[in-house]
Chain length 416, copies 2
């Protein structure tokens, strides 16, 4: 085994594991002060700082401006999505300003007083709701990931993205607040033959998807808030559907219409797009669930390890079917696997942060993570996925990601 | 019993509980469409919206500009804090832009490359850390509330604040990421006689507090991230101490120095301030824990109920000692109490959202909430608190809050 790993406990029990002594061989690190006097007093400790409410709605430090949503280079005339900078994030949540964007006709700025939700079709009483109506219903808050089914799509055929933002950045996780869709449907009275639900957005694309009633009556939400505050405009303000664990575009934003029926509507976004082409030329339709997946975010593509010795390997894991049970990490391209530590509390259909202490010996390494969910679904290797689904599909690439660390410490996206 | 309440289950089982039928007697609410055609198509459904990355770091809707941090009217020449708009928030988290501010000399904008943390005193090896050093340590993420010990202080003698933001807005809750303080202390080697820790900030106030080593070695963190991204400048960027459940000012921001010793330092902020004056003229010092507390945020002061019938009573509960076990709600000023539903997962020393369905009958009501934590500590009434601690103390007012609803639906801050 070419690389030495250790458990957090072993690491914490060892003294000087970070090589913090001034005599350390690993280069620049924490230094001993020349005496016990306080360190140099910098200018910002000598005069008044900024006053309260500068600004009243706070913003990140000017030193964090590199942490932003970004576009991939795009072949067509228009970009199709902006991506979350996963490699710069900590913990499990995505701040609202960095939640990835995917929309089909730009995002509208809707005055909430003028927004309406129409509920019709196979119901006893068709109804039109104002936002005031929606906000009066009993509410609930849940932390869920949201992933575009096209996330990592370009990575199937060859390693394309440079950073984790490029390869996996159509992924975010928020605490969402809203009303159970079932509560609102019951208000209108669901007719017995209703088995499908149409959801339509108020953007100029009229983004439209068909949803099985079983999901609508399970954990689906009509969401108006994310991470404590009202939805952001690009996330569907003032109202969106949210289908936990399902492909992102089904959680229709700027939700204006729900219609109950007894068959799917075969809308554009479930026929010409968002289907998975199989080797025999047929297409899988209604592949709703985002399957179990993970990615190491540190060290990850575009980063550089500045020294050998201790590094914490970190990343995110998720499953559209439930909770993450286990994440294994390999540093030799999948020959040997070791269990990472999962951050508690683990929540169903939410991002889980995993961590593993590691001593880098300065040799080439191939970092991989493999997630398993509570139902025993295991994240496949790229080879396994291709054996199963061929090379012609685009959506739902949940293959294991490999980051290569060179002897110089440079981290690169590769296929292993 | 003048008011009728019901459980969520009872409410959901009743049909038409919201009075949604067009024939409803409760005034304007969801309407039946005149036919099954889609509703009026608004202008924002007819043309392209804003493109991606507008802006790259997203901002709230222009229709949410009223949701902001705010100052209370202040007697002196300078304000002392900005407050979180609790009455406009949903769920349990506070978005970073709305986390309350309390600082003593403005907030500095520190270049992270130039920041240093010095660790000295009763340690085997005094050390100076760069931010790169700190970020290499093993990390953890935890959701904790943060409350200024002066929160609600002005409410003890008479009802003063108009809104929940005024009365309880020195309160926020985030997912914090950092390194265990114990891990960093062990790196330097803790000497046996060390029983207290001095923490000093790099702002111009050199905010300084003494902390018992037992807390430092328990759940204390050196925090560099909140809600997924790096700390905001006004929250201590690039590094702060975080002492879960302790009064806010002890979680020293812009942390520049930690010194181990065998006695507290009797700093300005633990002698002239942040002590609690008792009826006999002595002062309680080192009242670290924020005791069990709660507040109803909806309906709350400054709001107006627009109709009788269904309303969800909602609020937040927290304890600096652990998890919330129970929140009771009264609508008659404390004569009759009913258990609210607590949002899962409940996390130790974090905000808990509670909810109770309620049918308002249009009569005057006195809304109160009473929290109990996992150790059985019960939030006191104002009368109980005064009987215990007198009227001369300022910090640590955790009394039950009363909101009066008039027959016109106006909600007002009162003492009951």
């Amino acid at each position: 085994m070419p690389h030495k790993t250790s458990t957090r406990r072993q690491w914490l029990q060892s003294s000087g594991a970070l090589g913090l002594a001034a005599t350390s061989a690993v280069g620049s690190f924490a230094q001993e002060p020349s005496n016990n006097l306080p360190p140099h007093v910098p200018t910002w400790s000598k005069g008044l700082g900024k006053p309260f409410l500068s600004p009243a709605y706070g913003v990140p430090s000017p030193h964090e401006q590199h942490v932003k949503r970004a576009l991939l280079p795009h072949p067509g005339p228009y970009p199709t999505a902006s991506r979350t900078p996963l490699q710069s994030l900590h913990g499990t949540l995505t701040p609202n300003g960095l939640v990835f964007e995917r929309h089909h006709a730009g995002f509208p700025t809707i005055p909430p007083d003028e927004h309406r939700l129409m509920l019709h079709g196979m119901v006893n009483r068709p109804l039109i709701f104002t936002m005031e109506d929606i906000l009066r219903f009993p509410s609930e808050s849940k932390t869920y990931f949201l992933e575009c089914s096209g996330n990592s799509a370009l990575e199937l055929k060859k390693p394309t993205g440079i950073t984790a933002q490029d390869t996996h950045g159509l992924l975010s996780c928020c605490e969402w607040t809203g009303v159970r869709l079932s509560t609102v449907l019951e208000e209108a009275g669901i007719q017995k033959q209703a088995s499908w639900l149409l959801a339509e957005g108020a953007d100029a694309a009229s983004m439209t998807r068909s949803i099985p009633m079983a999901k609508a009556l399970d954990d689906a939400l009509l969401v108006y808030a994310q991470n404590g505050e009202m939805l952001r405009p690009e996330q569907g303000y003032p109202l969106r559907l949210f289908l936990p664990g399902f492909e992102g575009n089904m959680s229709v934003k700027w939700l204006r219409r729900l219609k109950l029926g007894d068959a799917p509507w075969q809308s554009r976004e479930e026929t010409s797009a968002y289907t998975d082409l199989m080797p025999d030329g047929t297409a899988l339709q209604f592949t709703f669930h985002m399957e179990v997946k993970s990615v190491i975010t540190s060290p990850s593509g575009g980063q550089t390890l500045k020294q050998t010795g201790f590094h914490e390997i970190q990343g995110l894991a998720w499953s559209g079917r439930g909770k993450i049970r286990k994440v294994e990490v390999s540093i030799d391209g999948g020959k040997y696997w070791q269990d990472a530590v999962l951050q508690e509390p683990l929540q169903s259909k939410a991002l889980a942060r995993f961590r593993l202490p590691w001593q880098w010996n300065g040799q080439m390494a191939l970092l991989q993570s493999r997630a398993t969910d509570e139902y025993g679904h295991v994240q496949p290797s790229r080879q396994q996925l291709i054996a199963d689904k061929g090379m012609n599909f685009y959506y739902h690439n949940n293959a294991i990601q490999t980051w290569q660390i060179s002897a110089q410490g440079e981290v690169r996206n590769v296929h292993a």
